[in-house]
Amino acid sequence: MGKAKDRTGPLARRPDNSAFKQQRLPAWSPMLTANTVLPFFYLLALMCLLLGVWLLLTVQSTQELKLDYTDLGSCSECYELRKNVSYAEQGCRCKVEFYIDQTFKGDVFFYYGLRNFHQNLRRYMDSRDDAQTVGRESQLKNPSTYCEPFIKDKDGVPIAPCGAVANSMFNDSFSFNYQTSSGHIMPVPLLRKGLTWYTDKNIKFRNPKTGNQTLAQVFEGTRQPLYWQKPVYDLDPSDPTNNGFINEDLIVWMREAAFPNFKKLYGILNRAGDPFTHGLPKGNYSIQISYNFPVQPFQGRKLVVLTTLTWFGGQNLFLPIAYLVTSSLILLMAVVLTVAWWKFGKDGKNMKE
């Protein structure tokens, strides 16, 4: 076998004496010994404990407020209204009030959350056309079959952006108000940009080339998704550069959530002016909600989440607690191992024949 060698003579077929062929490659053969395993376990237990404590402190330094407004206060009317699809076109506004008893220090992030909304169904997730939203003109009026069943409307006009994901975009809108101690109501300024990944905003989502045309002209010949009230080039009336496929709310929505309960970034507190330079001061707040998104059919809930962040992200106690639990488990294992070693394996007595 192998390549025939051009050797002749009495030992022509003798195999080479190389470490590889003779399976003598120099190697490191570690073994699980008490000297390495036991200290390693104790060390890891300690490490996990420290990590856990640190993370716990970090997470606890954040503040978070969750407000389920699905049928809260005046929103219950809208909730009832949205039960019936035939009123879908009819607007509904409601107001929710809440109280913050402790100042949210630093940057405050405003999220909307959905419960039991399955953005992760296979057919739902597939129902989009990245080639269209990246601004390919050919795809704009000729969306991919992936977008089934939201490719074209009844009249055969292509939908932009097509697909079930875009079609079901969350369309409630909020305006937050702060009631100062003096009773004066002032709006909480929100930054509605910078909510997306850089890559999404700049690469994954692009508008078709406009040239000299306006955005509306570019999108001519397509229609807005069936459930939308506004066309895609008119999503943000306040900022013309935030329209079309690069509208940040659209991009945020299009990043499908992994699990049925999720929250998505709605805005960031603009700390430019008083009294928000240090965050959200304590006091009474209210939210004016334009209540459009129906959750009643699928028993979903809608919430608003306000939170501050650290380097570790939001207020999620899972990892700190998991680390603390792991640490104690490792410690337990380490103790059991030590006992086993002490009883059976000390000085290699179990290894004697």
Binding site: M1, G2, P10, L11, R13, R14, P15, K21, Q23, L25, A27, W28, S29, M31, L32, A34, V37, F41, L44, N116, H118, N120, L121, R122, M125, D130, A131, V134, S144, S168, L195, W197, T199, I203, R255, E256, A258, F259, N261, F262, K263, P297, F298, L309, T310, G313, G314, N316, F318, L319, A322, T326, I330, M333, A340, W341, K343, G345, G348, M351
Partner: protein
């Protein structure tokens, strides 16, 4: 054209009409062509350039795994079902198919090459009255061809005439049946008369009618019709393709069967495809996995139905169902979608990787210098590359004796002449000196006719002979006269002996060197050179050897008229017939004999007797009468022999060593320590076999008893076996405890396993072929098996090749143990094929055993390296591989299962599709491959030091169904950790800048990274032997994962292939979060630490033998190997007439058939082959012809 045609016939499944009789007319091509007989071209290749692709693909898709993946691929093309893109299946499938196709193509190219080489050999063919050189493939049936000495026989020929007297030709059939002796073929006198006259030959119009092509090498039936006269044809007149013409200047033959019809090709049918234990286990497991897969899919489909009813139906606002799809149909579709998603549990790469690992380990066997035999330049060879791991599980070894344990070389070692012992060397203090290769040899240069290869170390014997000691001279005269050896003297002074048994050859050669040179014989005379003086004895009678007589005598007359009877034979037999005057000498000789037997030598006692003229005359008269008598000839002759062979004078005794191969006793001891049972199955006589049993340490003096079963009826055999069993284990039950169970695919195969029974002490069992025939009958086989398995050592002697195979089958059937058969000759082929693993001893003459073996090497002692080192490593590697492979794929797949509960059972995958495509193929394949190619728990020297390390393999300890279930539980745990830790960590979390990280793509990349880190960590934990290659592949694969991931998620890839790489930016945006890395760290800890803890604790509480040896290895250096102690025992056992001798040669050497017209070129083929199985069992004869040939070749080169 013919081959193409037949090829298409094959394709259509239509065989040519069954041939019933072959009808061939010499020199008449037109007539013969009308029958469409195959010509002499052979084709062993499978494909040609056009048929390769379709046929090869067809072959490949007949494999279940490939067909399954094709099916998956088709499923994926249905959009409603397709949960994964087509490329996740197509890419691996194409790669696997391509790799296999390349390998097959390479094999086939080699076959084409060898076919072309054979087909293009040249031969002289008689065409149109002229001899022309033709290629082999153009030879047609009915052609007359001329062969010359040392040429291969072109096709199956009817021998017409030859250069030799009596129209004889000599052929060597080693390639055909492995027998190395020359065989004689003889042409009909009628055709022989044509000699080499081209004219007569080309006018020859004989017609042959014979049997159709078949594969029986020993039978041929046909008739030759010449001028209306019929002549019978039998096997004696047929030269078969594959033989080589020897010692015959030329011969002519008529082609009867060509190419594919020849008996050689008919015999080279497909050998039984062997599969290993692990293969069978793997098949069962794959079925389990299928079952498991479908169960999972079924559960998920039901889950889907429930979800669709409860939630999906109200979610239709956002995601309307396809037309006509309701919950039931949706759940049906999701079943198939999950079949696709979860397909990784039956990984296509499993089979490919297993093949690669086996191939790699086979190469290591080929490359092993410690299994290379420099003397004849033979490396070990793994001829079957698919059985390696089974080498680590051998429980029973069946070994041939001659040529396997022994070298089949007899050396004259010692002798006792007139009460004096010769052959030992003593130092000055009187201690016996060990004789080694360096010991100075006696110089025989004074004797011009001496054999230079003969070695003897005791000077005193030569001195005694040259001094003229009468007993010593008589001793060697006897050796020179009393035998059936044929001399061959091609050149003056260059003597070669053709001995029927190697023992005789050794004795006659000894006499030759000590000055009594056997020179030539005729039926009436024997000429010897006695100390340089030519003496011609008249041969009056040969009293031949047979099994009952156990002795042989000759009666000769010296030129001076003195008549003497020379007799040699078994000690017990000769002692009964000695003259009373020899009493004293007998005693001394007996001591010597005991000593020789103790050294494991084969002994013979020599005696002679002077005869009176008138007595002799009368005896000759009676002898003549008896030998011509019609009735009771045998008895009368026996009586006459008995009468004359008495009152003999004792001369002495000879001791011949049946040389063991190097290291045989040590190897056997090692194998015994590894709890491998060795059974010797030999065609030799009981005494010989027993003797070898002692000399190679299989039978020992300290054994409690050695049972010998040699009975003649079934009842007696049964009694003897039962007696032996009750002796060993009195409390054993009458009925064997048989455990019945079912196994195999679908539990269709019934299995019966005979349980081992505990026995105190060591016993041996010797059973002869006759008894074995009864013992192998249905009603006795269990009895035999029980008794034999209780014994430490089992020796079966006088067994036929068929019985060898039967014994192997018996053990295979009732012990469910892995068996290995090792042998060197054609008679071992059956057992080599029957056993799980067949090993051939190569480098000997005759290739038949090697050709049908799975592994071959030159020396028996390499077996311990093959098993204890390579076999053990291969087995451990394969087990580790399988365990790890199932682990990583189950873990991978289970994650989808858990995710289903969160994604509405919609067959959404957890990972990126590209990760699914590349996981098995790129990210995790190389590290485990390098582990299963290089891993060693302990190195080879420690493996030898502790043969017990081999035992776990025999008990299937490293991989079994239990281990598989453990593996599944382990992966289940790991997948739970790997899914729910990232789930908890990511759920409700955002990046440090508030942006999304809980999205599907981030979760997917986090989960897949965690998975990869964990399976790599698990691999590191399994690796015992970290070579640079391992490091390179482990770290390289992880690096490759990150490199590939970042590349695929990059802007460029997205912009070029927008819909194929939708994960743009995910790696950058999610893996830069501390959150993600903390999650990875935690999952790794939780997955790996329990395994470490469990292993550590098991090692503390119940350390395995491997742990112990590894611990020792870490602690101390290897103790020096114990010095090779010479195997020497004090024994009172004696070999009998330990000749591997059979009767009837005396008659042959004195027969008229061997009148020598040309004495210089005289030659003799001893094997005039009688049919029947026992005949094949003859030991190989001394055959100097091949050696000479070898020498002349090497001198040429």
């Amino acid at each position: 054209m013919g081959s193409v045609q037949s090829y298409f016939n094959n394709l259509r499944g239509k065989e040519k009409k069954q041939e019933e009789e072959r009808h061939v007319r010499a020199n008449d091509r037109a007539f013969n062509l009308s029958y469409n007989y195959a010509n002499n071209a052979i084709r062993t290749s499978k494909y040609n350039i056009f048929t390769f692709l379709p046929l090869n693909l067809f072959e490949q898709f007949r494999r279940l795994a490939n067909a399954y993946f094709l099916f998956l691929l088709l499923l994926q093309l249905i959009p409603q079902i397709s949960s994964l893109s087509w490329f996740t299946t197509a890419v691996p499938l194409v790669m696997v198919l391509a790799m296999t196709a390349v390998k097959d193509a390479n094999d086939d190219i080699n076959r084409h090459k060898s076919d072309r080489q054979v087909n293009n050999r040249m031969v002289s063919v008689l065409i149109d009255g002229e001899l022309k050189n033709e290629k082999w493939m153009n030879v047609q049936v009915g052609d007359i061809i001329k062969l010359e000495s040392n040429q291969f026989v072109t096709a199956d020929l009817l021998l017409l005439s030859s250069s030799e007297p009596l129209n004889l030709v000599y052929v060597e059939t080693a390639e055909l049946d492995g027998e190395t002796n020359l065989k004689v073929k003889q042409a009909l006198t009628l055709t022989g008369e044509m000699e080499d006259s081209i004219e007569t030959l080309s006018n020859f119009k004989g017609e042959v009618r014979c049997e159709p092509p078949n594969n029986r090498l020993d039978k041929f039936k046909g008739t030759l019709t010449v001028n209306g006269q019929n002549y019978g044809l039998d096997n004696d007149k047929i030269l078969l393709r594959g033989c080589t013409l020897r010692n015959t200047e030329w011969c002519f033959g008529l082609v009867i069967f060509g190419g594919p019809d020849t008996k050689l090709m008919q015999n080279s049918g497909k050998t039984k495809f062997k599969r290993t234990n692990i293969d069978h286990l793997m098949n069962v497991l794959v079925l389990w996995i299928f079952g498991f897969l479908f169960t999972m899919c079924f559960i998920l489909a039901i889950g889907n139905a429930i979800w669709e009813v409860k939630e999906g139906s109200v979610f239709t606002v956002f995601l309307p169902r396809d037309q006509g799809v309701n919950a039931a149909l949706s759940s049906f579709l999701s079943f198939w979608s999950y079949v696709i998603v979860l397909n990784a549990v039956v990984p296509i790469s499993l089979y490919v990787s297993v093949e690669i690992i086996r191939l790699g380990n086979s190469y290591f066997i080929n490359w092993d210098r410690k299994m290379y035999y420099p003397k004849n330049d033979t490396p070990a060879q793994a001829r079957t590359t698919t059985l390696n791991e089974e080498l680590g599980q051998i429980k029973y070894i069946f070994s041939d004796k001659t040529g396997t344990l022994t070298q089949n070389i007899m050396t004259f070692n010692k002798c006792s002449i007139n009460g004096k012992n010769y052959g030992d060397l003593y130092d000055f203090s009187g201690h016996r000196v060990e004789i080694t290769e360096k010991t100075q040899k006696v110089d025989f240069s004074w004797n011009k006719l001496a054999d230079p290869k003969f070695a003897f170390h005791d000077y005193s014997l030569l001195e005694t002979v040259r001094e003229g000691n009468p007993e010593a001279q008589a001793f060697f005269r006897l050796l020179a006269l009393c035998h059936t050896v044929m001399p061959e003297e091609k050149k003056e002074g260059e003597l070669n002996y053709q001995a029927q048994s190697p023992d005789e050859g050794a004795l006659v050669t000894a006499a030759r060197n000590f000055g009594f040179v056997f020179r030539s014989r005729t039926p009436e005379t024997i000429t010897i050179m006695e100390m340089g003086e030519k003496v011609t004895y008249e041969l009056l009678a040969v009293l031949d050897f047979n099994n009952v007589r156990k002795r042989m005598s000759v009666i000769v007359r010296h030129p001076n008229g003195k008549m003497t009877l020379y007799c040699k034979g078994a000690d017990t037999i000769i002692y009964e017939r000695l003259d009373r005057s020899c009493k004293k000498l007998m005693k001394v000789t007996t001591d010597h004999l005991n000593e020789y037997a103790g050294d494991g030598l084969r002994t013979l006692v020599l005696a002679h007797k002077h005869l009176e003229e008138n007595y002799m005359e009368e005896w000759t008269q009676r002898h003549h009468e008896a030998s011509t008598a019609l009735e009771g000839r045998e008895e009368r002759l026996d009586q006459l022999y008995e009468e004359i062979e008495k009152d003999l004078i004792l001369l002495g005794a000879t001791a011949v060593e049946d040389k063991l191969q190097d290291g045989v006793p040590q190897t056997i001891e090692q194998l015994a320590n590894a709890d491998i049972k060795l059974w010797v199955l030999t065609g030799d006589k009981q005494e010989t076999a027993e003797n070898i049993g002692y000399s190679c340490n299989m039978l020992r003096e300290d054994m409690k008893e050695v049972f010998i079963v040699a009975a003649h009826t079934a009842e007696e055999v049964k009694q003897e076996l039962q007696y032996a069993r009750r002796m060993m284990c009195p409390e054993s039950a009458e009925q064997p405890s048989v455990k019945k169970c079912r196994a195999g695919l679908f539990w269709l195969q019934k299995m019966e396993t005979v349980q081992d029974e505990k026995v105190e002490g060591d016993y041996g069992l010797i059973i002869n072929g006759h008894s074995l025939a009864y013992a192998l009958e249905k009603d006795l086989e269990l009895e035999l098996l029980r008794t034999a398995c209780m014994c430490q050592t089992v020796i079966c002697c006088r067994v036929t090749p068929l019985q060898k195979a039967q014994v192997v089958e018996l053990v295979k059937k009732y012990k469910q143990a892995i068996t290995l058969a090792i042998g060197d000759g054609a008679n071992d082929v059956s057992m080599i094929k029957a056993a799980h693993i067949g090993v051939g001893i190569s480098g000997q003459e005759g290739m038949q055993a090697v050709l049908s073996s799975d592994f071959s090497f030159a020396q028996f002692r390499y077996l311990q390296r093959l098993l204890l080192v390579h076999g053990r490593w291969s087995y451990i590697r394969m087990c580790k591989f399988l365990q790890y492979f199932f682990y990583k794929n189950f873990t991978f797949t289970f994650m989808h299962f858990w995710y289903a509960f969160f994604c509405g059972f919609s067959a959404q995958t957890v990972y990126d599709e590209w990760f699914i495509t590349l996981y098995n193929l790129v990210y995790t394949s190389l590290p485990i491959l390098s582990l299963s190619l290089f891993d060693q728990d302990v190195n080879d020297r420690w493996s030898f030091q502790y043969p017990q390390l081999y035992c776990p393999g025999q008990l299937n300890m490293y991989f079994s169904k239990k281990a598989f279930v453990w593996c599944m539980l382990h992966s289940c745990y790991s997948s739970l950790v790997l899914f729910f830790i990232p789930w908890g960590a990511i759920q409700d979390t955002v990046r440090d800048d508030g942006r999304d990280i809980a999205d599907y793509q981030s979760f997917a990349s986090l989960a897949q990274t965690c998975l990869l880190v964990v399976v790599s960590a698990q691999l590191c934990l399994d690796t015992y032997y970290w070579t640079t290659v391992n490091h390179f592949f482990v770290w390289g694969s992880l690096a490759a994962y990150f490199a590939i991931t970042f590349t695929m998620y990059s802007n460029g890839m997205f912009l070029i292939f927008t819909s194929i790489f939708p994960f743009i930016g995910t790696a950058r945006n999610s893996l830069n979060q501390p959150n993600a890395w903390l999650t990875m760290f935690l999952t790794s800890l939780l997955c790996v630490l329990p395994v470490v803890a469990l292993r550590f604790i098991l090692m503390q509480i119940r350390p395995t033998i491997n742990d112990r040896v590894r611990y020792k290895m870490q602690k101390d250096t290897l103790p020096a190997p114990p010095p090779r102690r010479p195997v020497r025992r004090v024994s009172t056992r004696r070999s009998g007439y330990a000749f591997s001798h059979s009767q009837g040669y005396g008659a042959l050497v004195t027969s008229e058939r061997f009148l020598f017209k040309r004495p210089i070129k005289s030659r003799l083929a001893f094997s005039v082959q009688p049919d029947g199985p026992l005949a094949r069992n003859l030991p190989q004869v001394f055959r100097p012809i091949a050696e000479e040939l070898h020498e002349s070749q090497s001198s040429k080169s």
